[in-house]
Symmetry: C2
Subunit: 222 residues, 2 copies
């Protein structure tokens, strides 16, 4: 695994911004990146809500637009419902940056979770269509917020599939994933193949139900 | 892992039929199930071609219709192109049986593999729509034919995601998967969530290219 990550760029000084950082997934990632030594900014529509969530994690909170401006790398962890509108509102702030989309467009009914159709193919492709000046990468879809937030869990053995069409950007996000103990960042293909990675979260939810687990993926032979 | 499989049904005596058994995936599975002690029948449109492929694997070969009639469990490993037509022609033979679909509807261009849209949602759902009298299960999508066919490879550490709406049928196929050394059969959700499992094969192909690997999945925490 050390060899796996040997050629990745140095990312240790980077400030991580998390849009929708007050949700479970956003707070969980914020917590782990802060533990790894990164300056972390969590964003929300309301600065107050962001600051409140940030305090409990010992990170900073601010309005989404401030986070998008100040962070070096921006993770999008908003609910699918508000995904497009939020990104449209931050086009200028996100220009030129690496934007990491980890949104899973899912529906839920009494039989469990299922993938929603997305006009652009996937949440990540929607982000790329809106943020034409940004470098959009898809990653962190399958990470259990419960484990990320659990103080008793020091290490999470998991592969983060990192998808994108810009090699330098995907390598940077792979390096970022590897900052969390137990995580590897594994290149997972181009953005056009993001839909199934997002949708697979529905299967992991089924697995969690059946096995009372917090299931994740490892890629074998890599 | 032993505990994982402890409640699964006994499948050791079952005859496995493989439609499209002359392709790499079909021959690979045939080889492994024969090594595990199962009577195996591989099918093709031409009895001659089936018999020829079968000889090299020390199993039996026959026309697809004969295989569908004689086997206890039938695996569908045909190319996506001929999927619907073949199943339509075997509706009667497959009535009442567990039919395991492992077909990945993929396209290829110079940028690699990508998922094809499927009217019914997935190959497995198409099989279920055609074979209304069968118990359709989706499984074995991510198994490398190269590894299955390699005589130097005795064990393949891999989780087979098994999807379906019939608990007894998915448990039977999970048990079948576990007959191959290193494999686990992990319940992966309902058939309506089969698309992303099939499509994920495109991502594994991207991973194989990048890492010079034969990538597969392990589900963590299960």
């Amino acid at each position: 695994m050390a060899e796996h990550n040997i050629d990745l760029p140095e990312v240790s000084g980077l400030t991580i911004g998390i849009l929708g950082g007050t949700g479970d997934q956003g707070r969980g990632l914020a917590r782990r990146f802060a533990l790894a030594g990164h300056p972390v900014l969590i964003g929300s529509r309301s600065a107050e809500r962001a600051e409140e969530a940030a305090r409990s994690l010992s990170v900073r909170g601010a309005e989404n637009a401030v986070v998008a401006t100040e962070a070096d790398i921006v993770i999008v962890a908003v609910p699918w419902d508000g995904h497009r509108a939020l990104l449209e509102s931050l086009r200028d702030e996100l220009d030129g940056k690496i934007v990491v989309d980890c949104v899973n467009p899912l529906g839920f009914d009494k039989r469990g979770a299922y993938a929603l159709p997305v006009e652009e193919g996937s949440a990540a492709q929607q982000a790329a269509a809106v943020l034409t000046g940004s470098r959009v990468v898809a990653a962190f879809h399958h990470v259990s917020a419960v484990l990320l937030l659990d103080p008793a869990v020091e290490r999470i053995d998991l592969d983060v599939l990192v998808l994108g069409d810009d090699r330098e950007a995907t390598d940077t996000v792979r390096a970022l994933a590897a900052r969390i103990p137990g995580f590897r960042g594994v290149y997972g293909g181009r953005l056009r193949n993001a839909h199934q990675v997002e949708a697979l979260t529905a299967n992991l939810i089924s697995i969690n139900r059946r096995y009372k687990a917090h299931a994740g993926l490892r890629i074998t032979d890599v």
